[in-house]
Structures are given as C-alpha cells and as structure tokens.
Amino acid sequence: KREGFFSLYWPIREEFCTMYARLSNGGTADMLLENEQDPFQGGLFIRAKPKGKRTLRMESLSGGEKSLVALSFVLAIQKVKPSVFYLFDEVDMFLDGANAENVAKLIRERARQAQVIVISLRKAMIMEADHLYGISITKPGVSEIIGKVSPELLEVKSEAHDG
C-alpha cells in the first residue's frame, strides 16, 4: 500500500512542478507530505510561488492563483495516469484572460494524443477547439444541440468571454 502510494506520488509531484511552472509562466510550486514515513497519517501540503512573489501556502493565494494550482495538480495526475479521453467542465472559470489562454493552449496539446471535450464560456478556450457545439434551450426547458459550427459563426459566442 505504501509502495503503491509512492509509486504514484513521486511522478505526480514532478509533473505538478512542471505543469505549474508552465501555466504560471515561470512560477514554482512544490508538494510536501506531512508524514513521509506513513503518508496515510498526514496530509499533502502544496506551496506555490507565483512569478515574482514569495512562496505562499495555498490559503494565501488569490482565487485565480489557487485554481491554477489545483488545475496543475489535476493535469499532473492525468499525465501520470493517461487516458484516451478527457472532459473538462468550466475549469477556466476563475482565470483572467492571460491565464485562460495558457490553459487553453495546454489542453489543446493534450488533444493531440487523446480525445478532449471542454465545456466553457470563454473565448480563449473556444478559439482553440477544432469543433464547436452550441447548446441552447429552444422549447421551454428542453435542451437542443445546435450542432457543429465554426467558432466565428456561433450566436452563443457573443455570450462567451473574450481573452
């Protein structure tokens, strides 16, 4: 059980540092186990140092900075346990324009090796997709799929956020 945990923990930790450095354009992050002898007795601490700042605990980061760290953690797990299919539902919700673009580009890269579906309201994400579906309510309370449209055409786009 302990071996099983560590066989995943070390690669996830390594990937996590790489992912965060990439998504934050040069920040650094690290994971620390509260109890390395017996990890199941303690928690997992994450420290992040956004570019140009001091190292901070997860609690002192801003809303957007926290969600970038959480996303890096998830992307690291996915990298260590790869799949042929990924779905991301509004993972870019807390991010400003620049961060949303970084995340969209990284997910675009994932889509080279696997099938990726994202649900998003953000232009930065929608612009990266190969195919775009709009969902809308036509009859009261009934969802319809507007079908494959090019990103430029879709009416919903004006709903989407830019940047």
Binding site: G42, S83, I137, K139, S143, V156
Partner: protein
C-alpha cells in the same frame, strides 16, 4: 479507441432523442447558463454506471428522467448510450463499435425504478460494463473527467483531503 457519439433519450433536460457526435481531437461545448452543458458530462458518467448518484448531481436516479420541461409531458424512462470505436478490438467483442446503454425506468406500481444495462443491444450488468471499460482505457482512475466545481473544491480542501486524492488514483 475513441468515443464516437453519445445518444440521449429523455435524459435530464434533453427531452426526446438527441445524438451528439464526438469527434477525435478537441471539441468545445458552449451555451448559456442552464442550457444543459453539464448534463452532457452527467450523461457520460451515468452511462459508465458509477455507484453514487451524487456524481450525477441528482437526489435519486429517477431525477435523471426528463421532467417535461416547461410545457411537455414528463417521461417515464431515460436511456443513454455511449458508442465507442472498437476496430482494433481492444474490447474482446466481435464488433467495430461497442454501444454501452443504460436505462432507468419508473415502475408503474410503486415509487421504485428499474435500472437496465445493455451491451450492443443485449442485456448486461454493471459488472460487465466495468470489465469492458477497464480494457478500453477510456476511464481510468486518473481524474480524466473533471466536473464543474471540481477545481474549486480542490483549491479549498484540507491537506488530508488532498492527499486522499492520491490514495484514490493508486
């Protein structure tokens, strides 16, 4: 191996029969609040047969059946099929595609419901679904389906809860 399409029949807000083709590469789904985007991710999770209905944001499984919306009739059952490619025979079934179908039907008599599983049209079980899925690599335990709100709850969880995520994927 990839998902070819998802068929929704009276599943949540998708009244009637709706087919969503899934293409290889990068697909984005967008639309206003409440239009039904996250219901698509719920449909995929439903078809994979997870044990807990919390995953599909419903109180009980019958909440997944189309309630009629504003003016329509509430349906009595819902059906979701997940169709994926099997030309390379990753799954040891003699067919170029595998269709996993799950049905929930309200019972006429009591407040009960029936839950059925089908593989390529033949009656099956949750156990067989799990066997098939583990040989596809479509849904390992690697957090490959990130639901709405997951990122925010990871950002806010305690250090012990965060460590438990690694236990789960081991």
């Amino acid at each position: 191996m990839y998902i070819k399409s998802l068929e929704l029949n009276n599943f949540k807000s998708f009244g009637g029969m709706k087919v969503i083709p899934f293409l290889p590469g990068f697909t984005a789904i967008t639309g206003p609040n409440g239009s039904g985007k996250s219901n698509i991710s719920d449909a995929i999770l439903f078809a994979l047969g997870p044990k807990s209905s919390k995953v599909i944001r419903a109180g009980k499984l019958t909440d997944l059946i189309f309630n009629g919306g504003g003016e329509g009739q509430a349906a009595k059952k819902c059906r979701v099929s997940l169709i994926f490619d099997n030309t390379n025979r990753e799954v040891p079934i003699e067919s170029d595609e595998i269709r996993l179908t799950r049905v929930i039907k309200i019972s006429q008599t009591s407040d009960n419901y029936y839950s059925y599983f089908y593989v390529n049209g033949k009656i099956s079980s949750l156990g067989e679904f799990e066997d098939i899925l583990s040989s596809t690599g479509l849904f390992g335990h690697g957090f490959n389906l990130v639901q709405q709100g997951d990122i925010n709850s990871i950002a806010l969880m305690t250090s012990t809860e965060r460590r438990k995520i690694i236990d789960l994927v081991s």
